[in-house]
Symmetry: C2
DNA sequence: CTACAAGATCAATATTAGCCACATTCCTCT
DNA sequence: AGAGGAATGTGGCTAATATTGATCTTGTAG
């Protein structure tokens, strides 16, 4: 039967491509111990299966003039369907919100906001976040620096 | 003199490449209103300046078998040089730590850990994090789901 | 032993990047 | 207004690479 789960070679492929998506199929093959053509086939299968969602450029936050990351945890007044949907819609719409997680515990959401400076954050807060209905509380924590920002998921072999 | 700062076209380029790095220079040019050759030149300049740090594949966390994100905030006993260095070294070494920020406020670091399930997180905690010297306290918050995970920085035109 | 899945190898084709040269446009400074 | 410089537009050429398809080999499970 045709293989369908992710094996060790696939994991190596994913690690390599998460580090550098510009490798040629030949270089890729060498890294994972395959020749170019089966290697290309596996990559295409991973793309088709949606394991690889796409290929993107990684931009330096500071050099792009956006050095500030702010973490914001948010509590909603109610967790009704309508509330959650409206919140999710706003999150998707606002580009300053780079990451958003639904959390366990006292706080409902954890966001990471990227801005060029603190005044920009203040504007974002005042004009967008605080105007959202259904938000009970907002708590901001500022990042002084990025110690690590990995593009590679921990694909441990088992 | 040769241009050196990022202008509106560069911003458009960066946005496009952060969405899809596989666009040909021609398609890219069409998006930003340039023909292929100056477009390619600008991209090369952005790469050389380090604004574009690289190109990577984006992998679906769940489909790759790593559905769990845990946020961990950490407080060190002291913030001496030596302590910070050791911590940074460990963070860089452990692939489960995907993101790490140095924070203001009561907590020193905020980490995002990616694992395949809760037992794996427990193992990570017991065998790695809690064994690090100089760590005063660890506080874990679990993510129930990813609402947004953007690869595009908010390049607002000004 | 057979069947099948996956890999290796090879060939043919087409797309694309990377260069380079040259003309043109746009902007700024004097 | 005029000069100079920076950046773009166009075209042409070459080399690298992806893509596809065919054929053969290998390892393995039934």
């Amino acid at each position: 039967m045709p293989r369908s789960e992710i094996d060790g070679i696939d994991r190596k492929l994913l690690v390599a491509l998460q580090q550098d998506a510009r490798l040629t199929t030949e270089q890729l093959g060498r890294r994972v111990g395959l020749s170019a053509s089966p290697c290309a086939r596996r990559v295409r299968l991973l793309e088709a299966a949606g394991v690889i969602k796409g290929y993107v450029a990684v931009v330096d936050q500071s050099k792009a003039g956006l050095p500030i990351s702010v973490f914001v945890s948010i509590k909603l007044e109610r967790q009704r369907e309508e509330e959650l949907d409206r919140f999710a819609e706003a999150v998707a719409r606002w580009p300053e919100i780079v990451d958003c997680y639904l959390m366990t515990g006292q706080r409902d959401y954890l966001l990471r906001i990227v801005v060029k400076d603190l005044p920009a954050y203040e504007t974002f807060l005042k004009q967008k976040l605080t105007r959202l209905e259904g938000v009970a509380s907002i708590e901001s924590s500022f990042a002084l620096g990025q110690v690590k920002h990995s593009t590679v998921l921990p694909m441990i072999e088992t």
